[in-house]
Amino acid sequence: MHAEFSVTANVLYREFDMADTQAKTLYDKLWDSHIVRQQDDGTALLYIDRHLVHEVTSPQAFEGLALAGRKPWRTASMLAVADHNVPTTSREAGIVDPISRQQVDTLDQNCEQHGITEFRMNDARQGIVHVIGPEQGATLPGMTVVCGDSHTSTHGAFGALAFGIGTSEVEHVMATQCLLQKKSKNLLIRVDGVASEGTTAKDLVLAIIGRIGTAGGNGCTIEFGGDAIRALSMEGRMSVCNMSIEAGARAGLVAVDQTTIDYVKGRPFAPNASQWDKAVEYWQTLHSDEGARFDQVIEMDAASIAPQVTWGTSPEMVVSVDGKIPDPSSADTASRQEGMQRALEYMDLEPATPVTDIKLDRVFIGSCTNSRIEDLRAAAALVSNRRVAETVKQAMVVPGSGLVKRQAEDEGLDQVFKNAGFEWREPGCSMCLAMNADRLEPGERCASTSNRNFEGRQGQGGRTHLVSPAMAAAAAIAGHFVDIRELEARLS
């Protein structure tokens, strides 16, 4: 699979390689190259190259730092942005909710005080932290990337070791540029074959979670491999790695290849011209070696994966769009059966209902899983020259960043959406977690391109079905879920 790189000598780590001739996984390589020191019990002090910061999980860390009289170790490693609380409607009036405003102001003040680069709310580069990192080239292959946010796993799409941390760890990284970590297990998920038209990266990862469960990756770093993953764009790989955390793993990885390198080239924080060749030479070693040992390998066939729709209150509760709502009596354990029963009650669904009979109140296209330009293009393609169904109260598109928004506008996608009756918003997390004004009312049902369908996630009592951008767009038009494979066949 990686034959094209095997002739490239690893100049940077030659000494290291000679001392250690064992075949390594990509995770092993990233781990080994970041160890500052190792304790007897296996706990490693791991060096952190990039620290992304947002407003919700950082104030207590900055406060802790100040209380202990400490300073950030290397502010140049940090990039900050407010995304969770920001309004996605007009921003001229600032943030109306005083508590949200205080949190965003606190981030602004902390960044100013310490000289940390921050994209403020009205900066065109502002957006969801996991969208802007890659977009700016602040996420690079071979890095360790952390952020006080579980979807930091997104950045693993670049062959970077990226994972979410809690606020105490945010403070630890600020103060020391390091984290105390134990190594996880290596889990390889290979998806081979060719996905059918209409089956996207989102569907692959939902199907993976359906297969291994939300605890399936606990204690593991997942490497996603196989032809179907290789064939994905960087946007698609980010959608897959993004949901590693929903599969129970803190980190997901995709090996570096030409797709990765082409994406990074020319971005603001990317290596400059004089560093470029050396960087690429190193990056080309960032793949699992032939014969490297994984603790577990799971194989799947992309051709057998249909567009997916979650039906319950956990991302593992997922079925194919041409399927039916499952019956709890099919569960293998009593506690699972009870969980399914509870989910069906919360979601107000009956077993054996065809997925395409489910009607929607709202549609949300956005979040760090699916708000990049490619996602918006896919959704727009299905919306073009059609109208959102009368029965759908609201359909909204929230681009992942100001730059994605601008690009989409340059391509005329905003007009496509607006003509169809979608709202076209400012970038942020928005209805993915409903911390700002965008939320579901109790009992409302939403087709959402985000990553979590937990009870109340999009608003108290709200019901979330996770789908791909194309599936969400098609559902907005029809007013209920549709199998976009049939739709596409009908259109063409």
Binding site: R37, D49, G166, H172, T176, G248, N272
Partner: protein, 212 residues
Amino acid sequence: MKSFTVLDGLVAPMDRSNVDTDAIIPKQFLKSIKRSGFGANLFDSWRFTDPGEPGIPVSDRQPNPEFVLNQPRYQGAEILIARENFGCGSSREHAVWALDDYGFRSVIASSFADIFFNNSFKSGLLPIVLPVETINRLFEECLAADGYRLTINLSDQQVVLPNGDSVAFEVDSFRKHCLLEGLDDIGLTLGHADAIRQYEKQRMQQQPWLFN
């Protein structure tokens, strides 16, 4: 950090799998820039029947009598038992702060989500993984007997049941040491500042683009 040595505490049973951090502390309470005060909204949407917003005192809320922590027999519980994958979802450490602020000192489950597990140690909340059969037994005994208590001894790594049976649990030695002593791990790491600086210098030479 608070230290943890021996805890003899009342047990409350949370008979669910995949208890996520959104359920432990819903997002509207994450707007606080403080570390304390989250206990009032622990499990907010399960615990109360009216919608919760920041700033409303618990005394003005409508408790859900069905919810386990609202039952008189579990008042003052310090140990929570739960099923698999406890603490999944968002990385919010607010979930740990809420459990701690409410009065819990330990959560016992058959498995935990990784980030929650890590975060717990930082606030002196001890997460304990026990086999499914043991968890089943704890649930049975806890539901059968009012005032069900367990003793957790961190230095021996044992959970002692009311009849004297004890069950061993794993905890890695560094974390155990920090918890027993109540150590601040930032201070410990800064003790290796020279090693960090040296590593950084080497990295700067090998991959200068990381320091642009």
